[in-house]
């Protein structure tokens, strides 16, 4: 999608994602604070639920369409909708097209998808943010959440993080490999999924970073769930949380 086609502006809506609604409220909070810092007025439509991805990836596209129609109704396509998740953003950008390719309301659905942005992508490419202020002293391994492939999200996250004073982004092996979550894949293929996760944790933590970062809480839920069970909890943060912490540290100084 070319930049010019995408809806931008500072009157924004937050799609918090079902994972932040149920488990990771701190990430949604951080997203609001980050957006407000760059001058956005954030609304959170009450009726929102989920982007529809679990059903879509499971192959149940009838159920998917039901949820997507509800989501499209809930948000105002004239304002940008921001998501703190690479995979939900990918679902809206690509999955919606696929699930609706034979439907009469494809046009309406596409109008909505053009208004949806992943947070880092929005900051950098929607609003033109070049540097992030504040300070955050940490060595960070940034997981390349798979669904950010082919989008601007990962580069944008790298750009923002590496501009923060004190942040050191570390390289690690097999960065192209998946964490093993994959939605319902994680329960339908529990053995493979967990083995993939263990390998990913090994790679991400090989250089002993202070923090493992991600642009997607689904990957983090999986990885930290494994690490916790192994008795080696993962020090994890969503990029939105890092941005917010950097701001706060900056204010303290």
């Amino acid at each position: 999608m070319s930049q010019t086609e995408r809806t931008t502006g500072t009157q924004v809506q937050l799609m918090m994602t079902c994972l932040c609604d149920t488990f990771f409220d701190s990430v949604a909070q951080a997203t609001v604070e980050v957006l407000e810092h760059v001058g956005c007025n954030v609304e959170v439509p009450e009726a929102q639920t989920c982007c529809g991805q679990p059903a879509f990836n499971s192959g149940d596209w009838d159920s998917t369409r039901k949820v997507v129609r509800h989501t499209c109704k809930t948000f105002d396509a004239r304002k940008p909708t921001i998501l703190p998740s690479g995979s939900c953003a990918h679902m809206v950008a690509h999955g919606y097209d696929l699930a609706f390719e034979k439907e009469d309301d494809l046009g309406e659905v596409q109008t909505f998808s053009k208004s949806v942005w992943e947070l880092c992508d929005f900051l950098v490419n929607g609003l033109g943010v070049e540097r992030w202020p504040g300070r955050f002293d940490a060595k960070i391994s940034l997981h390349r959440s798979c669904h950010t492939r082919g989008t601007q999200t990962y580069q944008s996250a790298v750009k923002l993080l590496s501009s923060i004073e004190g942040v050191e982004l570390v390289e690690f092996d097999e960065s192209e490999q998946c964490c093993g979550f994959g939605g319902t894949f994680s329960v339908a293929y529990p053995n493979t999924s967990v083995s993939m996760g263990k390998l990913k944790i090994e790679m991400l933590t090989a250089s002993k970073p202070d923090i493992v970062g991600a642009v997607d809480m689904a990957c983090m839920m999986h990885l930290s769930g494994i690490a916790q069970k192994q008795g080696r909890p993962l020090n994890k943060l969503h990029v939105a949380e890092i941005l917010m912490k950097a701001l706060r540290n900056g204010q303290k100084q």
Binding site: H147, P190, N191, T192, G225
Partner: protein
């Protein structure tokens, strides 16, 4: 862990040393591929996209290009046959052999010949069919199946190969020195080349412009297979046609780099037709068999992009599920992401037997990223899942929680909010006690984070009030 998915079970039970060899070789090939592409091109991704367009364009106009390829091949002196399925292809090959009074065939590496199970068919009809690619030869001796489309025996180590040779009586004793193994295979196979009356190859690309067939091998066995005998049969899928010789150049560049990280495959040959009157050597008869075997059906379906595939194996090498499970887990000739899309389709009426294959993916998209012809593999896997759901094929969704109730929940905000409150209960119950298989599958080796349903919504309301105040 218990699992309802056969590929997951296969991965769980895979011997450690097999997983190790698959992993090490996959990783090495992935790295080499990346290096060689980056060394040669400033924008490898745009060449990949171009190659995808070339193949897609050909597919959209396949009857035209195939027609012109046939015309050229015939002009060059080859006899062209069409086979609607494996059975027909096998019978055509047997007929050609009988026509020249042959009972001995030597084969260069060809995945289509695996697809139609040519070796057992010929053996059944009293003919000898010998694989000349070392890997395929070992597979044949073992009565095994290739586990990778480029490197058929990545699942084997040299000790196992030495045992296979010893059992088959190739060489005097057990010897697992790789050089000795190769030397022994070489002297055995040289004799077979000389004895064979017919040589069979595949064909990586066929130019519609010239009828030229491009054949690549790293051991030179395609050239050997058609040197010492009078008849050459090329067995080729109909989707291997490309518009022109120039297009072949683009694809050959990508094929070598994507498959093995080489600039060019060691032996890259172009074959125009049988031996011309003035040429001293070469086969006097050349037959080209174009195989359909479900390909026309695929062409007319929502899966048609899979026919762009040039069988480089890059999607296998990068696939985390393939790396965990190995090629044999896929129970079909084509494993990995390409196989998960293609094998159920090639199965025809037996589609339901393979409908679980598309679930062997976390949809991470790594396969699409490396595919030299930019096939949207994750999208095709998703289409399969949806097809299986619509056709009610249980095998596909075994172990996947039903989404019907969830979709009702997610399209009703009131219910959603109630469940955010009710979900609190999860904090107090050990996950292992919940008799839902999905939760158990999660919780055996993973914890769930503490449930904080609705907390953000509360915070935001307060936050807004504070801001307005």
């Amino acid at each position: 862990m218990k699992t309802k998915q056969p590929i997951d079970a296969f991965a769980r039970d895979l011997p450690r040393e097999v997983r190790e060899s698959v992993y090490v070789s996959s990783k090495a090939k992935y790295d080499k591929r990346l290096d060689s592409l980056n060394q040669s091109y400033t924008a490898p991704d745009s060449i990949r996209k171009l190659a995808g367009q070339i193949k897609q364009h050909t597919l959209e106009n396949l009857p035209t290009y195939l027609g012109s390829a046939v015309e050229q091949l015939e002009k060059n002196g080859a006899k062209v046959h069409f086979a609607k399925d494996g059975q027909e292809a096998n019978e055509t090959i047997l007929e050609i052999m009988r026509g020249v009074g042959a009972t001995k065939l030597i084969k260069s590496k060809s995945m289509v010949s695996e697809e139609i199970h040519l070796n057992p068919f010929l053996e059944k009809h009293g003919c000898e069919s010998i694989e000349s690619d070392l890997g395929e030869f070992i597979v044949q001796l073992d009565n095994d199946m290739p586990s990778h489309i480029v490197t058929p025996i990545v699942h084997k180590n040299r000790k196992q190969i030495a045992t296979t040779f010893q059992k088959a009586g190739i060489g005097e004793d057990y010897n697992d020195d790789p050089q000795t193994i190769t030397r022994r295979a070489r002297s055995f196979l040289r004799q077979k080349y000389i004895e064979a009356e017919v040589g069979l190859t595949g064909g990586n690309f066929v130019s519609a412009e010239s009828g030229r067939i491009a054949l690549v091998t790293n051991e030179g066995n395609a050239r050997f297979s058609i040197s010492a005998n009078k008849t050459h049969i090329a067995l080729i899928g109909i989707e291997k046609v490309v518009p022109s010789d120039k297009d072949m150049a683009v694809l050959l560049n990508l094929l070598a780099r994507s498959a093995t990280g080489q600039q060019l495959t060691v032996y890259t040959q172009f074959i125009n037709g049988p031996k011309a009157a003035k040429q001293p050597d070469g086969p006097e008869n050349m037959h080209v068999i174009f195989l359909d075997n479900e390909r026309s059906n695929i062409l007319g379906s929502e899966f048609k992009e899979i026919l762009r595939c040039i069988r480089c194996g890059a999607c296998l090498n990068v696939c985390p599920i393939y790396r965990q499970s190995s090629g044999h887990a896929y129970r079909a000739v084509y494993p990995g992401p390409v196989g998960a899309v293609l094998s159920p389709l090639l199965a025809g009426k037996k589609y339901p037997d393979y409908a679980d294959l598309p679930k062997a993916s976390s949809l991470c998209g790594a396969c699409n990223e490396v595919c030299p012809v930019d096939i949207p593999l994750p999208e095709l896997l998703l289409r399969h899942r949806n097809k299986a759901k619509q056709e009610g094929i249980k095998k596909a969704s075994a172990g996947t929680p039903s989404m019907a109730g969830w979709s009702v929940l997610c399209s009703s905000p009131a219910m959603w909010k109630t469940s955010l409150r009710a979900g609190k209960a999860m904090d107090y119950i050990s996950l292992n006690l919940i008799p839902v298989p999905a939760v158990q599958a999660w919780a055996k080796e993973r914890t769930l984070p503490p449930f904080r349903g609705g907390k953000f919504r509360q915070w935001f309301k307060e936050h807004k009030r504070n801001k307005e105040a």
